[in-house]
Structures are given as C-alpha cells and as structure tokens.
C-alpha cells in the first residue's frame, strides 16, 4: 500500500510497498524476457528452469529487469488509485542492496503533480485591434514584388559588370601558389552584391567586361568553415564569360493572364485580388496578436507554482525537437548553435524560459476553460477530425487510429477558450 506525502513546489512523495508476490512476479517476468537466450549445459536453449538459471548466474542478474517491471506496475497502480495528475517522470528512490528474493520491499517515488492554478483577472483587458486597412502603396509593393519574382535573366549586351548583375564566370583559387580543393568551378553563376563569396571578392570583379580575365586577391576570413584556409591569403584567377541582368516584366494585362490565376485577367482584378490577400493576412496577424495579448495577460495574472521537473521536462522536449530538426538538415547540434550564434548555456536558458512560458499559458487556459465550463461536444470533435484529415490528407478513420479522442477534445477546448479570451477583450 502507499503512503502519500505532499512536498512543496507541487511535488508528491509516494511510499510504495511491494509484496513478496509482486516481486516474485517481476522476477518471473524478467526471466521470461531472457529465457530464450540462456544457454546452460544439459538443457536446450529456452528450456532452462528459472531456479537452475539462478543457481548459475545468481538471482541478482534478474533484478534490473524485474524492478523495471515491478516499479512500473505498482507505480502506475498507485497513480491510478490516487488519481494523481503526474506531469513529469518520477524520481525513484530504492535501496537495491536491501533487495532479497522472496521478500517484499519499499521504495519511494517523488513526482511532480499538476499544479493548481489560481486565476486572476482574465477578462476585459483593454486592447486595440491592429488595423486591417490596406493602402494602395502596400498593394503596389506587393505587385512589384510579384513582378520581381517573375523577372528573367537576360544577357547584358554591352557594358561592364555592376552591382546586382549576375556574373557567369570560371575561377580557380590558389593559396601559396597551390590550388586547393573546392577552389575551382566553371561557369559559376553569382549575383554581385549577394555576398556569397569571401568578403572583397565580388567588389573586385565589378567593372569586368565579358571575356576579360582578372586575378583577384583576397584573404580568407579568420573564422572560415574550412580551417586550413582560415586567415590565409588567396589568389583567384577568374574569367568572365557573360553578364546577365534581371529584367522585370511590365505590368500589363498579358502579364496578368500569364500568371494563370483563377478569375484574375486584368490589372484591376489583380489589384483587387492582391488587396483581398493582404486583408486576409492582416486579419490573421491581427487576430494572432490579440490572442497573444489576451493569453499573456491572463497568464500574468494567474498564480501557478510550476514544479521544476515539469519545466525541465518540457525544456528537454523542446531541445530534442530542435536537435531533431537540425539533424534533418544534416547538421549536428554544435554546428546549429554556431550558426544561430548562441552557445549551449544561452540556448538552454532560452529553452527553459520558453518551456516555463508555454506551461504557464497552457495551464492558465486549461483553468479558464474549467472555470467557464468550456467544453467540446462530439460534433465539434468530429469537425476537428475532419479538419485534421484534410490537413494531413488522410482518411478520418486513419487519423482516429493515430490520434486519440481526448487529445483532440483538449485541442478543441483550447481553441474555444482562446476565442473566448479574445472575445472578452475590452476594445474600443
């Protein structure tokens, strides 16, 4: 049976007794796991009785697996019986040296439980929604950008290489008179001023004529990714083949037609369409800002004593996410830190802050939902499933297999609560 003691910071210490029978069952389970690989003379594999195995290898060899099993069983039993809302992995305290076959034992588990939220004011914050008006300038800028995207590179008939031109050229780099790896390319295309190359390289090319050859002297930066080159002087032999310039198309009805957008055939229609998109974008950002504001204010006014373990766990989860993403791009975590210009400590500190914030937000929203009696009915849950199935392009049935109802329900309640908060902002 279990004794429960409440500690500070929303943590609970549970003392759990394990009976001899439970321990024995654990040992049985543990032996079952390894049984097929036990090889003892006189027995076929998998046919060795447990007591024979224990005589040979000692019962201690089963402890680890058995404990895993027994602790898991008894612990979740207690959690269920006492209906504790655990929010982090438990810390188990157990004296292994006191274990003895055929006897029960006692261990303690210290776990963080979901903290109580003491809500403060969460309605009626004064807030001014961001304007969603779209000006003509914004529309023009958007259309200009569109024209820019559709610009074509055309050969520059005459003139020298200038900023923003695209150079097509060969190059070969030498350090101390020796060519080095990766320092050579033919027909390389580069926009002058894009700073793709070593600082100074692009500037020195300005003014070249097609067909011209030029030697460019640069120094590799001290912090260059290829260490053996860092800080070294280098000479690049370059030969310019072609100069290309961007030519943006004129805004005409023909151009609009070529875009092949549905219902958009003239300049005016394009403008109207652009306006609509802009309004939608602005509505979206404005709404998001209102949400951020409402949730943040509500969370600020709530008093929550978040257990350290809960933050730690969330932090680790977030960091794992980042690491996994970095891996997907084929870079390791250290490189990622370098690229983003942080070190491990700052990153961890930020992650921790983030974790605390998101926990605080979530708990606040949950508490508000409970207090306001915001709930989701089956129809709403079904609608959410419908939405998910569209989003992931899967059948509703498939989604239902992978996502459980409770999670979706929580999500729906969450959204509704946020909407509720935004509706209850005091706007002018």
């Amino acid at each position: 049976m279990a004794k429960i003691e409440t500690l500070d910071n929303n943590r609970v210490k549970i003392e759990i007794d394990v009976t001899a029978e439970q321990f024995e069952a654990g040992l049985d389970y543990a032996y079952d796991q390894i049984k097929d690989d036990v090889d003892i003379k006189g027995f076929r594999k998998g046919k060795v009785p447990r007591h024979v195995y224990e005589q040979h290898k000692g019962v201690q060899s089963l402890y680890e697996e058995a404990l895993n099993y027994v602790l898991q069983e008894t612990y979740s039993d207690v959690i269920e019986k006492e209906s504790l809302e655990v929010v982090a992995q438990p810390k188990i305290d157990l004296d292994v040296s006191k274990l003895e076959k055929g006897k029960g034992f006692t261990y303690t588990a210290t776990v963080a439980v979901k903290p109580d939220v003491e809500l403060g004011e969460y309605k009626g914050f004064e807030y001014e929604h961001e304007s969603i008006d779209v000006t003509d300038e914004e529309i023009d800028a958007k259309i200009d950008a569109l024209l820019g995207q559709n610009a074509e590179l055309v050969l520059k008939e005459d003139g020298a290489l200038e900023e923003n031109d695209t150079a097509v050229f060969d190059f070969e780099g030498f350090v101390d008179g020796e060519p080095f790896e990766g320092g050579k390319a033919d027909n390389h295309e580069m926009v002058i001023g894009s700073n793709q190359f070593i600082p100074g390289f692009e500037n020195q090319m300005v003014g070249m004529q097609p067909g011209e050859e030029r030697e460019i002297k640069v120094q590799f930066p001290n912090e260059y990714q290829a260490e053996h080159l860092a800080g070294k002087d280098a000479v690049f032999k370059t030969k310019l083949h072609e100069i290309k310039v961007k030519q943006t198309p004129e805004l005409t009805d023909e151009f609009v037609k070529e875009l092949d957008k549905e219902g958009v055939g003239t300049i005016d229609e394009l403008k109207a369409d652009t306006k609509e998109t802009l309004v939608q974008e602005k509505e979206e950002t404005s709404k998001n800002k209102a949400i951020d504001f409402a949730v943040e204010e509500a969370a600020k006014n709530a008093t929550i004593d978040i257990p350290e373990e809960m933050i730690e766990q969330e932090k680790n989860r977030q960091m794992d996410n980042v690491k996994r993403q970095a891996q997907q791009y084929g870079i390791d975590f250290d490189t990622y830190l370098q690229l983003t210009g942080t070190d491990k400590e700052t990153f961890e500190k930020n992650a921790r802050e983030q974790a605390e914030k998101s926990i605080r937000y979530n708990l606040t929203i949950e508490a508000i939902a409970e207090k306001e009696g915001i709930d989701a009915d089956q129809a709403e849950i079904d609608a959410k499933f419908e939405e998910l199935s569209k989003q992931y392009n899967m059948d509703v049935e498939q989604i239902k297999e992978q996502v459980n109802d409770a999670a979706v329900k929580q999500e729906v309640v969450f959204r509704k609560t946020i909407d509720f908060l935004v509706e209850n902002l005091e706007t002018e």
Partner: protein, 94 residues
Amino acid sequence: MLASEIVKRPIITEKSMQLVENENKYTFEVDKRANKIEIKKAVEALFDVTVLKVNIINTTPKKKRVGRYEGYKNELSKAVVTLSEEDKIEIFSA
C-alpha cells in the same frame, strides 16, 4: 567407501529435472564400483532422506581422438534414486 566418494555430483539436465518434478527421482553421477545398496545408504546419509529405489545406468565410454592419440571419454555410472514422496533434495530445486 565414504558417502561423498560414492555420490560424485548431481546430474542436472532437462531430462533429470523432469524426473525430479514428475516422479521425485533424483539423478547423480556415482562411483562405478558402488552398488545399489551402498548408493542408497550414501544418499540417505548425505541428504537426510528416505530412498525407495535405486536404478543404475552404466554409460559406455565413447571413443575420442585428439590428433593422433586415441582414448576414451570417462566411463561413468548414473544412479537414478527414487525418494519417498515427502522427501526432497535442495540442490535440485529452488
């Protein structure tokens, strides 16, 4: 002969464990020279049990060759000892 000289070691195999479980029979390797009566007395003395029956199996030695040397595996005798129902021998079971 001493009891510990007659009974050399328990034989613990799948088959012998089955005999223990199902028929309360315990298998030992015993000295070749011992007879059933001596074995019975030795087992009773060593394990403090009542022996009902003793069966002896003599194994034929197998020919073994290591390089150019020829020889035999040890010749041994096994004794299957039946105990009275209430008796048990610890080393065979947990």
